[in-house]
Amino acid sequence: MAANLDAIRAQTQMLGQRTLRRWGPPALQGWTNLDALFRKACTVFGLAIVGLLVFIVAELVRGSAPSLLRFGSSFVVDKLWDPVTERFGAATFIYGTVVSSAIALLIAVPLGVGVAIFLVEMAPRQVSVTVGFLVELLAAIPSIVYGLWGLFVLAPIVRDHLAPALRATLGFIPLFSGPSFGVGMLTAGLILSIMILPFIAAVSRDVLAAVPQAQREGSLAVGATKWETIWQVVIPYGRAGIGGAIILALGRALGETMAATMVIGNTPQIAASLFQPGYTMASVIANEYSEASGPLYLSALTEVGLLLFVVTFAVNGCARVLIWRMARGAGRHE
């Protein structure tokens, strides 16, 4: 009986091998080294990402060729965007994208890292789980909901409370001068900061939670306070990971379209005051692409898309170098 079972088992194994040899694709017949197969498959997947990127850039360059030839480098510095006379410059959009993302990061980074520190180092388990869940829930809200909430709730608050308060205290700085309509660069930055907060908080939380307990215990054992432990041991240990979270969030802020469009005011200008309306690259594409007529107009919008790609690439690259340096510095410090 037992011998019989063994025979069946052996036969089944043989059948498995034979099935692959006989019925698998011709290239794989006789192939038994599955590790090699796996490696090849993964290489193909990895290269597909690179291929996709190259394809997108090539397609954007092709689409924006008429505009590239017509305006050349002046496209990047020209502030005029006039679809009627077909004169296009993207400086105001580049400015809007960079400034609104910068505001968002300025607010969301301390807040997000603070949330992560609280959740990992201080909060009781029950609170940590609940608040962590709520923070992650923020990431699941569609951007149009953020946009409409920004327009109907946040914009009036900015106009009636935040802007007057800033003007009264910091009004001597041009950034906080002049009237506020509610919608504008500051409101856009605020909305973006709320939208990227969960990315920074959730990833930083996981990074901090992964810091070995021995590091904390060691620090406490030599007499460090909780504050010193967090600030000088836990955070430096997780620096690279937190940096990664910030880059992820920055990417989201640079490319965010719908929410920014609803609250930024969509006015192509470079204004000194953050209360004034502005315009982002993603917004102008979303606003004008569907009704754009004429090959030059379309290609100018496509070139804005190409520039968005370039700006994202450059900003991300800078951020990565910065964080790499910081991480290395941290390593030396230890």
Partner: protein, 362 residues
């Protein structure tokens, strides 16, 4: 272990492969009976795309028409007028719908001749956020142009106040709100301002997106109306249907004859009727600033754009049949949705356009 995984993977792949093979015959067998059933007339899908403004109207038309002609299915995608024209040029749709007539360049790009068939009209109204006014504000063309050029900056400016002497307008600063997305509504608004204000014509001009001299941009009707509602002293422009359905206040505008006219379904039709003599043969007209004494001066038309040489067959028959029905019986569905029907004389001229489909192409 490896063998087992491979076996599993391959059996999965096989299952999927077989599944695909099986699904394709099922799909054909699904189409089979339908095709056989309606063999003489044949089910026809009319693909159209374009104007978002006409979308609610088009949905109503297509559902009403299907009751009469069950074999015709109108599939309309509201991707925007510019998109509709692009799709027509690319031959992916049988008809486009647009709030602005095709430009000469676009007609050239289309290669074969394109016909413009007006379908329905609508007003663009000035909506504002000023509390406690006894009645609608009256705007002169100079006042509107001045406001949107940024020359008039407060509500109690004499250019606005002179036409509203019976009520006291506040000294609130004016905040101009405009559409940020490319839109036929913007085109109609700017087209009107270009006609009444030489300064507007030279400085700004008319198109679906503009280089605005002043103001903040809101995305879509909801963006403009939302910003106007949130901002005291704001003024913006939206389609009349949208303003009525959302109970927003809107002003009267002085027309060419010197009368202040309230935008209504009838005053738009009247504006078109009064401008008939100025409408060119190809029906690529603009009826803004109409000379009609009781016509509201800021209104636009939605055109269906179709190829004159649409190839003969059931699709062309369905296309002509549907558009013809829209021009006649279909017009009675306009009013309930706050759109304005075409005047009778214009319907006749549109009919002639429809009848010429296929004629010149022989």
């Amino acid at each position: 272990m490896h063998r087992l995984t491979t076996l599993l993977l391959w059996s999965l792949a096989f299952a999927l492969g077989v599944g695909c093979k099986q699904s394709s015959p099922t799909a054909t067998s699904n189409e089979g009976p339908q095709a056989a059933q309606a063999a003489p007339a044949g089910p026809v899908t009319l693909n159209g795309a374009g104007s978002t403004f006409v979308y609610p109207m088009m949905s109503r038309w297509s559902s009403e028409y299907q009751k009469l002609a069950p074999e015709v299915q109108v599939n309309y995608q509201s991707i925007g007028s510019g998109g509709g024209i692009r799709q027509l040029i690319a031959h992916t749709v049988q008809f486009g719908a647009t709030d602005a007539p095709m430009t000469d360049d676009q007609l050239k790009e289309a290669k074969s001749p394109v016909l413009h068939v007006p379908l329905v009209m609508g007003a663009v109204v000035a909506t504002y956020n000023l509390p406690d006014l006894p009645h609608a504000i009256r705007f002169s063309p100079e006042a509107l142009a001045g406001i949107f050029l940024g020359e008039i900056t407060t509500w109690n400016d004499s250019k606005i106040a002179s036409a509203n002497s019976d009520m006291k307008l506040p000294a609130t600063p004016i905040v101009v709100v405009h559409r940020s997305d490319g839109s036929g509504t913007t085109f109609v608004w700017a087209d009107y301002l270009s006609k009444v204000s030489p300064a507007w014509k030279t400085k700004v001009g008319a198109a679906t997106s503009l280089n605005w001299p002043v103001g903040i941009g809101g995305k879509g009707n909801e963006g403009v109306s939302g910003t106007v509602r949130q901002t005291p002293g704001a003024i913006g422009y939206v389609e009349m249907t949208y303003a009525i359905q959302n109970k927003m206040p809107f002003g009267q505008v002085k027309n060419q004859a010197g009368n202040f006219v309230e935008p209504t379904i009838d005053s738009v039709t009247a504006a078109a009727a009064g401008a008939l003599s100025t409408i060119p043969d190809d029906l690529r007209y603009s009826i803004t600033n109409s000379p009609a004494p009781n016509g509201y001066p800021i209104c636009g038309t939605v055109w269906a754009v179709v190829y004159q040489d649409t190839p003969p067959g059931p699709a062309r028959k369905a296309l002509v049949g549907f558009l013809k029905w829209v021009l006649h019986e279909g017009q009675k569905f306009c009013g309930p949705l706050d759109y304005s029907p075409l005047p009778a004389d214009l319907v006749q001229r549109a009919d002639a356009k429809l009848e010429s489909i296929g004629v010149a192409a022989k």
